[in-house]
Amino acid sequence: MAELASGLIRVLDEEGRAVGLWAPTIDAEQLRAGLRAMLLTRLFEDRMFRAHRQGKTSFFLKSTGEEAIGAAQAMVMGKRDMCFPTYRVLSWLMARGYPLINLVNQIFSNEKDPLKGRQLPILYSARDYGFYSLSGNLGVRFAQAVGWAMASAYKGDDSLALAYIGEGSTAEGDFHEALTFASVYHAPVILCVTNNQWAISSYAGIAGSEETTFAAKAAGYGLPGLRVDGNDFLAIWAATEWAVARARANLGATLIEFFTYRAAGHSTSDDPTRYRPADEAALWPLGDPIQRLKQHLIHIGAWDEARHVQFEAELVEIVRAAVKQGEAVGTLGKSKPPVSEMFEGVFETPDWRVREQRAELGD
């Protein structure tokens, strides 16, 4: 067991072959769906990042290099399971087929923003897609996932909870509280650390990665810890299937560390060359998860370069269309939900303060 927490679970080798004990059986259709979710995420994020430069949104952030994690897990997890995301798992929503236009409208904070302009761009909420409400504060939702899983178990419902936390954020007390509750109550939850090795400007060492792995922390709670190549779609898939089987069998929680690399800057407010070599991303050994899955698909004869080129062109078009549609509604400042929305939803029914202030604002 300790081996699994200190080593690195990999399935895809350099040639794109699926090798070793962990190799899952996934049909080509699913693999292509995974590739699509990852590529769509990459293209969408690049497009919106440019939109930010053009002043169409106040904030944006990319998950470049980490797209395999959310994509594979969204496909392995059941439709009724709930994911407690970080801001860096857009590929989950892509794999679940969340409408691009909803993302665009939320990012533009326009009139059609599904969150009514109340939340910072990319802090989505999509209950029907198994995606819990995001917010800017780190860590706090990790232990909420355990509560959700406890509730599911209490109701005899077989749905699971899955939560993500960045390696940097594991230093918050919330991390320990989540693992303690998950362990003590044998909650059906999968707790994932996305170790992309950077926390804004701080290397993972600031959270203790030089002392041991993040997966190794599981043992201190009597839980299994798996350390997985986070750029390996198949390895993520297999590890998640393992944790799901364990949870569904009421054996309890699993901690999974996804070892990956934050290829882009932290966000639109960040310039990574200030604190790390400009070519570090290029030199990253575990490779690009999209390239690796593509290579595998080609290797098993389920894909080829020509199809990929056409495929990518199609996705670019889909993204462009969605962005155009969102721009037609309006971008930041050009369009927004009615001001009344500022006062809605504070409580289930507005109290006199909100009613008076709404009148005071002359709305």
Binding site: Y132, N137, A151, V346
Partner: protein, 337 residues
């Protein structure tokens, strides 16, 4: 039907809700097998089972985080924090998460949780077993804060809180758990037996949140209080010859602005009483609201009677605790000019 203490009334409210609603869960430190350090959950695990009422690790942050997750799932968790002083490790979960979930997700998720916690002084509990943190919650948009002053209200307000779809911090004045306390610490301890508000129905009933109770009508001055201070104010009024109108706020968010404004417009004078330290305490908001709304009716400055601006000092319990003498002094000052 026998009278109930506040503890029995709270226990009854929890029992009723556990019986009527399978989505209600009760948990916290020592609340399960043991029944809680103040016995509020006594017998509930035995009667409803360990899945409905259970112990938690000593981790207030984890307790509230779990409650928020359960609430978002669809349950109605009723976590207990052993002392209100120990809510602070969970403050971020309450403020940044429970209170904001509905708003930020545009109603996709919300946290219908009721966080119970004994609070307040008068028990020689020292610094960390005596504090009154209500002002910290009152400033947080999206949180309700409820404070009962007697067994009848305690049960009805707790049931309303549990049935509310908004997060509620339910503060229980521990000094009056077993009997009313009017601040005369040198007199014999009273029990709830025979008190009109101790006559508590067995079954389900509610006392609405946001409705203050006018406990005594009067025309000279309006006295606003909640929790233990309701009894202290009552004593001060009865011992004096000022015709005061006494209002028990019962919940500070939502606040019954209408009742208090109407009263002060009528009396033109007001004394606000709370245990918490004065500076930036909830009395400040009441005072500010009333001078904004009743300015032209005010005959004298609105008075605040509160704990001093020091930590809660163990040996000086009765020098710190705002007893009847301090309330009487404020009533007189309000009547001057």
């Amino acid at each position: 039907m026998a009278d109930m203490t506040m503890i029995q009334a709270l226990n009854s409210a929890l029992d009723v809700m556990l019986s009527e609603n399978p989505d209600v869960l009760i948990f916290g430190e020592d609340v399960g097998y043991f029944g809680g350090v103040f016995r509020v959950t006594e017998g509930l695990q035995r009667k409803h089972g360990i899945k409905r009422c259970f112990d938690t690790p000593i981790s207030e942050g984890g307790i509230i985080a779990a409650a928020v997750g359960m609430g978002a799932y669809g349950l109605r968790p009723v976590p207990e924090i052993q002392f209100a002083d120990y809510i602070l490790p969970a403050f971020d979960q309450l403020v940044s998460e429970a209170a904001r979930l509905r708003y930020r997700s545009n109603g996709e998720f919300w946290a219908p949780i009721t966080v119970r916690a004994p609070y307040g002084g008068g028990i020689f509990g020292g610094q960390t077993h005596s504090q009154s943190p209500e002002a910290l919650f009152a400033h947080v948009t999206g949180l309700c804060t409820v404070i009962p002053s007697n067994p009848y209200d305690a049960k009805g307000l707790l049931i309303s809180s549990i049935e509310s779809n908004d997060p509620v911090v339910f503060l229980e004045p521990k000094r009056i758990y077993n009997g009313p306390f009017d601040g005369h610490h040198d007199r014999q301890v009273k029990s709830w037996a025979g008190h009109p508000k101790a006559d508590v129905p067995e079954g389900h009933y509610t006392v609405p949140l946001g409705k203050a109770a006018v406990l005594r009508e009067g025309c000279d001055v309006t006295v606003l209080a909640y929790g233990t201070m309701v009894h202290v104010a009552t004593a001060a009024i009865e011992e004096g010859d000022i015709d005061a109108e006494l209002i028990d706020l019962r919940s500070i968010v939502p606040l019954d602005i209408e009742t208090i404004t109407n009263s002060v417009n009528r009396t033109g004078r007001c004394v606000i009483v709370h245990e918490a330290s004065r500076f930036a305490g909830f009395g400040a908001e009441l005072s500010a609201l009333l001078q904004e709304r009743c300015f032209f009716h005010l005959k004298s400055p609105i008075q605040r009677v509160a704990g001093w601006d020091t930590p809660y000092p163990h040996a000086f319990e009765w020098d710190y605790f705002p007893g009847p003498a301090r309330v009487t002094k404020a009533l007189k000052q309000a009547m001057e000019s």
